[in-house]
Symmetry: C2
Subunit: 498 residues, 2 copies
C-alpha cells in the first residue's frame, strides 16, 4: 500500500462515517420535529440498519490494517491526519474488544430502555424501570473493562465522556464546589427572594418566536447555516460546520425557559459552526468533549446571558416584544429574577448556583452503582437522601426524583459530571477573557463579536484536534475549580447583598 492511497482510503472511511452520522441525525431530527406521531417503527428499522452498517464498516479488519499502516508512517503525516489516525485507532481497538453479540444485544437493550423509562417516569414507578436499569448497569460494568481494563470501571466510563477525567479528579472538584456552594446557598436562602412573578405572565408563543429570532441575531448565528426548530426538549444537532440546527420549546407561562434554552443551544451551535474547515468530514469535526461543549453553552447561557450587562443590552428590545408583560419591570429586576437561587427537584430547571448540586447527586450514585457498592433497587432511597442532604428538599416521587433524566436509559453513565465541569471551565475562560480584552463594554451594547472571536480562536476552531484538557489549558491555563467557586460567590454575594 502506498501512503497516498492509504490517505485516500482514510478520507473515504471518514466521509462514510460522516454520511452514516448525517443520515441518522436527519432521521432523528425528523422524528423529533415534523414526523407524524405514529411513525417510530419505520424510523427504528432504518436507524437499526444504519447503526449495524456503520458498525460493520468500522469494525472491518481492513480498517485496522489501514490504521496500522498509517500509524507506522505517522512521522510523515500532517498533524490533523496524525490525530485522526490516533483517534480512529483508539475507537477501532475499543470496538473490536467488544464482542459483536454483546454489542448488538446492548444496542437492542438501549433501544427498548428508552420506552420503558418513559413509561416508568409517566407512572412514577421506579420498579418498572428497575430490571432494565440492572441490565444497563451490568453491561456498562462489563464494557468498562473492554474500554480500559487497567482502570476502575467508573473511571473507564468517565474517560469516554471527558478524556483524562477520573474519580480522584472529580472527587476533589466536587468537594471544592460543595464546600463553597452549600454555605453560599444557605446564606442566600436567609435573604428575601427576588420577585420573579412577571416571568410567569402569559407570553404568546408567536412573540417568543420573534424574540428567539432576535436572540439568534445577537448571538451572531448565521441563519443561512443554523435554523431554530421546536421540540419537546431543546437540543443542538450538527451536521457539519456549515449546517447546525438548534431547537427550543415555548411555554406560554415561562418565557425565560425558551430565552435561556436558545442562548444555551446557541452556545453549542457557535462551537460547531466555528470548527475549522480543514477538519470537516473527519472524526475531528465535532466539539472535542461533552465538558468542553457544555463550557460553551453555559458560557453563553449563564456567564453572558444571565449577566446584568447582557440583560441591559437586550431589555429594550424585550420590552418591544412583551410590552404588557414587562410593564414596570426594569432590566435590573429582570436580572435578579432570572438569577433567583432556590433548591429544587429538577436538574434542568435548576439555577446557576444549585445546578452543580444536582449533578453531584447523580455522580455519587453512578460512582457507587458502577463501583458495585450500591444495588439498583436502592437507587430511589439514595437519590432522595442525597437530595435532602445536598439541596435540603424532599423528593415526593420517582418521576420528580431518580426517573427525571433520560441519560441512564440511553446507556450513559459518567456523562453527568461533564455538565458541572463545563460550568467550571466556562468561568475560568471568562476570567482569562477579561484579562485579554474588554468583555463587558461591548456586551452591554449587545455586541458579542469580541466574545465570539475569543472563543472561536481559543476553543472552537480546534475541534477534536487536541485533548479536552489541552483545549481548556490552551484557553485559560491549568484547570482550577476555585475560579468557578469565586465567580459564584461574587455573583451571588452581590445579587443577595450578603
Amino acid at each position: 500500500m502506498e501512503l497516498k492511497q492509504a490517505l485516500d482510503r482514510l478520507a473515504e472511511l471518514q466521509r462514510k462515517m460522516y454520511a452514516y452520522r448525517a443520515a441518522s441525525s436527519s432521521l432523528y431530527l425528523d422524528g423529533t420535529t415534523v414526523a407524524p406521531k405514529d411513525t417510530a417503527e419505520g424510523r427504528g428499522v432504518a436507524l437499526g440498519v444504519l447503526a449495524g452498517e456503520q458498525h460493520k464498516l468500522f469494525s472491518d479488519p481492513q480498517v485496522g490494517e489501514l490504521l496500522d499502516f498509517l500509524w507506522a508512517h505517522r512521522d510523515g503525516l500532517d498533524r490533523p491526519v496524525r490525530r485522526q489516525v490516533e483517534e480512529l485507532r483508539r475507537s477501532y481497538d475499543q470496538l473490536r474488544r467488544i464482542p459483536a453479540d454483546e454489542y448488538m444485544e446492548y444496542a437492542v437493550l438501549t433501544n427498548q430502555a428508552g420506552d420503558v423509562w418513559r413509561r416508568a417516569k409517566e407512572a412514577s414507578d421506579f420498579q418498572l424501570f428497575r430490571p432494565v436499569l440492572e441490565k444497563l448497569v451490568a453491561f456498562n460494568i462489563k464494557f468498562a473493562g473492554y474500554y480500559d481494563s487497567a482502570k476502575a470501571p467508573y473511571d473507564a466510563l468517565l474517560n469516554e465522556y471527558e478524556r483524562g477525567v477520573d474519580m480522584a479528579y472529580l472527587d476533589k472538584f466536587f468537594a471544592t464546589l460543595r464546600e463553597r456552594i452549600v454555605p453560599l446557598l444557605h446564606a442566600v436562602m436567609e435573604k428575601e427572594p427576588p420577585d420573579d412573578s412577571f416571568l410567569r405572565r402569559r407570553y404568546p408563543v408567536d412573540a417568543q418566536r420573534k424574540f428567539s429570532d432576535y436572540l439568534m441575531q445577537v448571538l451572531g448565528l448565521d441563519r443561512s447555516h443554523c435554523t431554530i426548530g421546536e421540540t419537546e426538549h431543546p437540543y443542538t444537532l450538527e451536521f457539519n460546520n456549515k449546517d447546525v440546527r438548534i431547537t427550543t420549546h415555548y411555554h406560554e407561562d415561562n418565557m425565560d425557559f425558551s430565552m435561556y434554552s436558545v442562548i444555551h443551544e446557541g452556545g453549542h451551535a457557535k462551537y460547531e459552526l466555528g470548527i475549522a474547515d480543514e477538519l470537516q468530514y473527519t472524526c475531528l469535526a465535532g466539539g472535542v468533549s461533552m465538558g468542553v461543549h457544555e463550557s460553551q453553552s453555559r458560557f453563553y447561557e449563564n456567564l453572558i446571558g444571565r449577566s446584568l450587562p447582557f440583560i441591559q443590552a437586550v431589555f429594550p428590545k424585550m420590552k418591544e416584544f412583551f410590552p404588557e408583560q414587562l410593564a414596570g419591570v426594569t432590566a435590573e429586576q429582570f436580572y435578579r429574577a432570572v438569577n433567583k437561587a432556590q433548591p429544587s427537584l429538577i436538574r434542568t430547571e435548576a439555577d446557576e448556583l444549585t445546578y452543580c448540586l444536582h449533578v453531584m447527586v447523580r455522580y455519587e450514585i453512578e460512582k457507587q452503582l458502577i463501583g458495585g457498592t450500591l444495588a439498583v433497587k436502592d437507587v430511589p432511597e439514595t437519590w432522595n437522601r442525597l437530595y435532602k442532604e445536598y439541596l435540603g428538599v424532599d423528593v415526593p416521587d420517582d418521576s420528580q426524583g431518580c426517573l427525571q433524566d433520560s441519560h441512564w436509559s440511553g446507556g450513559s453513565f459518567g456523562y453527568f459530571p461533564s455538565y458541572a465541569l463545563g460550568s467550571a471551565y466556562g468561568a475560568q475562560m471568562l476570567r482569562n477573557m477579561e484579562q485579554d480584552m474588554d468583555v463587558w463594554g461591548p456586551v452591554s451594547k449587545g455586541d458579542l463579536s469580541g466574545v465570539s472571536a475569543w472563543l472561536g480562536e481559543k476553543v472552537h476552531r480546534h475541534g477534536g484536534l487536541m485533548e479536552p484538557a489541552d483545549v481548556v489549558k490552551n484557553a485559560c491555563g491549568p484547570f482550577d475549580p476555585t475560579v468557578f467557586a469565586d465567580y459564584l460567590e461574587k455573583k451571588y454575594s452581590q445579587l443577595y447583598a450578603l
Copy 2:
C-alpha cells in the same frame, strides 16, 4: 444454503435497501423543507456516499447468488416472496449490466445537471443547458441498451417507468386523445370563458393552511401517519405505509393552487398508506408504477376534487375559511372557475382538458431525441412548433418553454407519458366504480370513504405485487383510452354547453 436462511437474507437485504432509501429521503425532505439555505454541500456528501453504499450493497455478486438460489426454489415460495425475487432479479441484472464507472459518471452528471438546469431556466437560456442535456441523452441511449438491448432505446426507457408500455402503445393512446381533445378544445374556446377572477383575490396563507387541514380530513388522511409540509414544489414522500409526507405551496393570490395540490398529493399519499402491511420493508412496498401513482393522485384531484358534487360538499366550509373572498360566489361558479379550459404555456398549471397536450409535446420530443432523429440543439424550436400546433400558443422564451420541467435534468426520459396514462387509467377506474357503487351520493355529502375503500381494495393494497397493467386490469378491465376521452367530452360539453 438452506431455504430458510436464504429467505432471512432476502428479508435482510430488503430492509437494508429500505434503510438507505429512508435515509436519503430524510435528507431530501430536510433539504427541501427546514434546512438552512447554505447547507447543500454537506447533504451532497452524505447523499453521494449513501448512493454509493446502496449500489455496492445491491451489486454484490452474493446478491446474484442468493437470487439465483431462491429462483431455483421458486415453487416453494409464497407469492409475495416469489415476486420480490423476480423484481430484485430484474433490477440486479440491469444494474450489473451497467459498467460501474459509467454508473458513477452518470450519478455525478445528474447531480450537477440540476444546478445547471436551474441556472439556465433562471436565465431563460437553453444554450447553458444544452451541453449537459446532450450528455444526458447520450447516456440514456446507452443505458437503454443495458436495460433491454432487444428494444428500441426509447421503448426500453418507457418500460422503466411503466412496464409494458412502448411507443406503439403510446402512439395509439395519444392519437386517440388528440383526435378527441383538439376539436373539443376548439369548441370550448369559442364559448365565453367562466369568471375565475375571485380565485385571484387575496387568500391569507394562514387561512389556506387551515383549509388544507380540513381537506386532509375530508380525504380521510390520518394525521398521525401523514403530515403536510411546505416546499417550493409540492411532492409526496413515502417512508412506509405508516409514514407518508405531503407538501404544498401557498400563493396568496392563487388559492386553488394549494387546494388542488393538497388533493393531488393526498391521492398519492392514500395509495402509499393503503399498501398492505405484509409488503412493508420489501421492494414491493411502494406504488407499482408512475402511471398507476398518477392515476390515484389525478383521481382525487380531478375526477373527485374538480367534480360538482365534491365542490358542493366542501363549499360551505370554504366560505367559512374565506368569507370575504368568496362572498357572492356559488359552488357552481367555483366549479366552473376551477374547470376553466385554456391553452397555456406551463404544464403544471394546465387544466384537466389541455394537460395531456402538454404531455404529448414532451413525448414527441423525447421519442425523437432518444430515437436519434432530433438533435439536442433543435429542442427549443421543435418545442415551440409543437406548442403552436397542439395548443395554439406562442412560446415567448425557453424558461416558459423547453426549460420549464426538471425531469430531463434528473435524467428522466420516458417519465412524462405516465402523467397522461394516469389520467386515463383514473377515468376508467371511475367508470367501473360507478358501476359498482353509488359514488356521487356520498361524495356530495363530503363522504369519501366508499371511494377510498374501492381504490384501497382494487389498487392500493397490492403495492408492487402485480404488473402495472394488471393492476389497472384488475381495477377496471383492459385499458381503453376512449373512456377518458368520453369522460372529458361529457364533462366539458356540459360545462361549456356545447
